[in-house]
Symmetry: C2
Subunit: 207 residues, 2 copies
Amino acid sequence: MTLALGVLVSGSGSNLEAILEAIARRELDAEVRLVVSNKRGAFALERAARRDVPTAFVDHEAFPTREAFDADVVSRLRGRGVEAVVLAGFMRIVTPVLLEAFPDRVVNIHPALLPAFPGVHGPRQALEYGVKVAGCTVHMVDAGVDTGPIVAQAAVPVLAGDTEASLAARILREEHRILPRALAWLARGELVVERGAGRPRVRVPAS
Amino acid sequence: MTLALGVLVSGSGSNLEAILEAIARRELDAEVRLVVSNKRGAFALERAARRDVPTAFVDHEAFPTREAFDADVVSRLRGRGVEAVVLAGFMRIVTPVLLEAFPDRVVNIHPALLPAFPGVHGPRQALEYGVKVAGCTVHMVDAGVDTGPIVAQAAVPVLAGDTEASLAARILREEHRILPRALAWLARGELVVERGAGRPRVRVPAS
């Protein structure tokens, strides 16, 4: 069963592109039904339009609360039959309004090896801390900031002379690899959130 | 110049063995002048004795304070001409008494990708959190617990079905690789602690 995806973006949309390419290569059995940007003119919208993927700009400043914004987005996603939501460089904190509409079906990609360096500047924080291994994380979104159960991670070296831009670019290449793979697991029903003692954890296929 | 090392241990000493093997293979220009264990009968003492490395058991329970214990250890290390100290599975928090005796010359190996999972159960914490990438860190020791500037890190995958023991063993193999390499940088004077704005960071040779 082809998974109906909604992708929420704020920026250039390179992870959206990676998703669309994985679909085109038939590595990911999904269809992007709607791309929503909270930023007018985000390049992600242009990438989507080029591939005839429906888009919407939803101005978060037009809503009185985060919840009201999320309710509008949920309504648009449901209107397109979306089953799972990908936050692909979406620079807004989501609320339970979105999470409860798509339980265990909201996925985020974060440019750090969580639980290290949550928040908005993963690569910068990694450089400032002085780590020698950085990376990225695909995780299920919960009510915290970058705290949800981890689906996939990839590591990259931090090299002498790295800048925030060079490190972020190296991490991004891994994001483009692990995000479509994680979504393929989700599409095939192979991604299971296990809730027992302690934190919920995600079981994925043996690699 | 051959680096005179002291190695502090509490357990089996497999990292000590990795250091001694790297020295034997001439990959590390160092000499282990003394192995100190705070645990009587630690297997590390036997490993050292087999290779004719001097050993000492120093019972931390015989000292009224951590500082008094450290002062005794420092005295023994200095008595052997030790220039740099490796905490290789040493399960004691060290005090400024040791750190000030060997400034920027106390190195620890930790079984997690710091700053994630400091403390005594790195692999267990990583499994409980549900990360998909784990690893190990060589760092300079400062007054905090596993907070000092990072010298080297290596990542390993967390596999489906991993137990604490299987993950710890996979991490340990990387420890045996990166610790001697980091000590070789130290021995060659290639390991520089840079102190500027923000955290001190360690510059190492390009790999």
